[in-house]
Amino acid sequence: MTSLPSLPAPKKIGLVIDLDVCVGCHACVVNCKEWNTGGYGAALSDQQPYGADVSGAWLNRIHTFEVVPQGGEIVGEAGDARIVHFPKSCLHCEEAPCVTVCPTGASYKRAEDGIVLVDEDKCIGCGLCAWACPYGAREMDVAAGVMKKCTLCIDRIYNETFEEVDRVPACVRTCPANARHFGDFADPTSDVSRMVVARGGIDLMPEQGTRPVNKYLPPRPRTALADMASLPLAENTAGAKGFFAWLDGMLDRI
């Protein structure tokens, strides 16, 4: 059934992605592919994996952006540019447009926890849901002819044969920088809810009206290089004490 659940879900599980912390190592991308190619549904196929024009289905990708401060045309003109690594996977939207356009009922949003899934046995591979998603979260598996998307590692998070610490999505478990967090947004006391409040978590493309569950934490303000001490750090002697302070002063004088 491709109508969205009529009642708000009792649980709203999803991810918080911290753009201040992500180092762009692509470990989550690789672990996502590794886990999901052998997990839920059809394998994530690659086309020409060893050829020149390699392509394939991925459920999580990292883009890297350069942010130039207001007033600058080129990097460095109006202050320091920032490089922001930007992991992107399905946001499990509350008003998921990919679900309602599906003609077959393959695409659905779970009423119990809000995960958006594809029933691959019903998918005809028309690709309309990928057109309806503003974020590019859905990619066709060209070999299987069905649409693939992030399942929030549904086969990990509820897997009771796993230790508690492993019952999180593969991307969260693998992140060496701790930039990805998993939890329930319906619970205001959960870690993810508190992080969103503390850091001003944002929605991507709010103008699209999708009400994404996943939130992004914007990079923290950074001290501009120009505001730091003018001397190179190696020559800054402000903190010297005792003998070295005396020596510093003497050497300055002669």
């Binding site: 401060p69 028309c126 503003p134 060209v142």
Partner: protein, 306 residues
Amino acid sequence: MHPAPSIILFTVASGLGYGLAIMLGLGLLDPQALATKVAHVLSLVLIGGGLVSSTLHLGNPRRAWRALSQWRSSWLSREGVMALATFVPLTLSATLALFAGRHSLALDLVGAVMAVATVWCTAMIYASLRTIEAWHTPLTPACYVAFSLAGGALLAAFFAALGGGEPRGPALAALLLLGIAWATKRAWKRRVTALVSATTPETATGLGSIGKVRLLERPHMTENYLTHEMGFRVARKHAAKLWLIAVGFGALLPGTALVVLLTGQGDALVITAAALACLGFVLGLLVERWLFFAEARHTVMNYYGG
């Protein structure tokens, strides 16, 4: 957006087929004439062929029947249901015309209304997508319906010229509908030209508060499904030329031919003019449809620097 040839063919062919069915339903042609019977068959062939063509781009065409189930929420499903349902009155009308040489007004009107609704549903598949701002307007279904009616009237004029009756009536209707269709399309295009996108790399990344966002590195060095599907560029580069070609073949050529048809004398001239008008219109419409897909910009390209 990537213009799958099967989708372009489907929207053009089924649009023409439904347009012709509507004109037949309005009784523009003599039901006794052989040309009218051929027209009935052609309209069903165009619709059926278009539908079959539309399944060609599916990853799993053998499950296509499932697409009839979600009509409560999905325009694609509604389109499928309407297309199948419309076959009932249209096939009955065609049977009456083929074997009894007559038409039933009530049946024809039901068929005509359902045909308009089906074309509307087809266009709503695209118009309902907020991610493609160029399409997300009521002008999109208006264009689809107007082009369908104009194409149907042109084909009706051709079959009338072939011996189905007096071609001047359908030709006059075709001229009028052609004018309306291109005027609607011009309004659609003006809207697209003036469109300021609400979605930018800044809203897409949420980094607008820091500054201007520019893509530094794509996730992968090579193209992927998303850039193939949403980032088609060839037609965008030549959009201005292609638009002129579409207008030349789809509007000016049929318009001129229809004026010649209306003012000229002699069967050969009338048939040639009607045939040229139809041919030009179909070519122009194929280019127009190609542009419709290829020129459309998808919000996901904000993540890919395009």
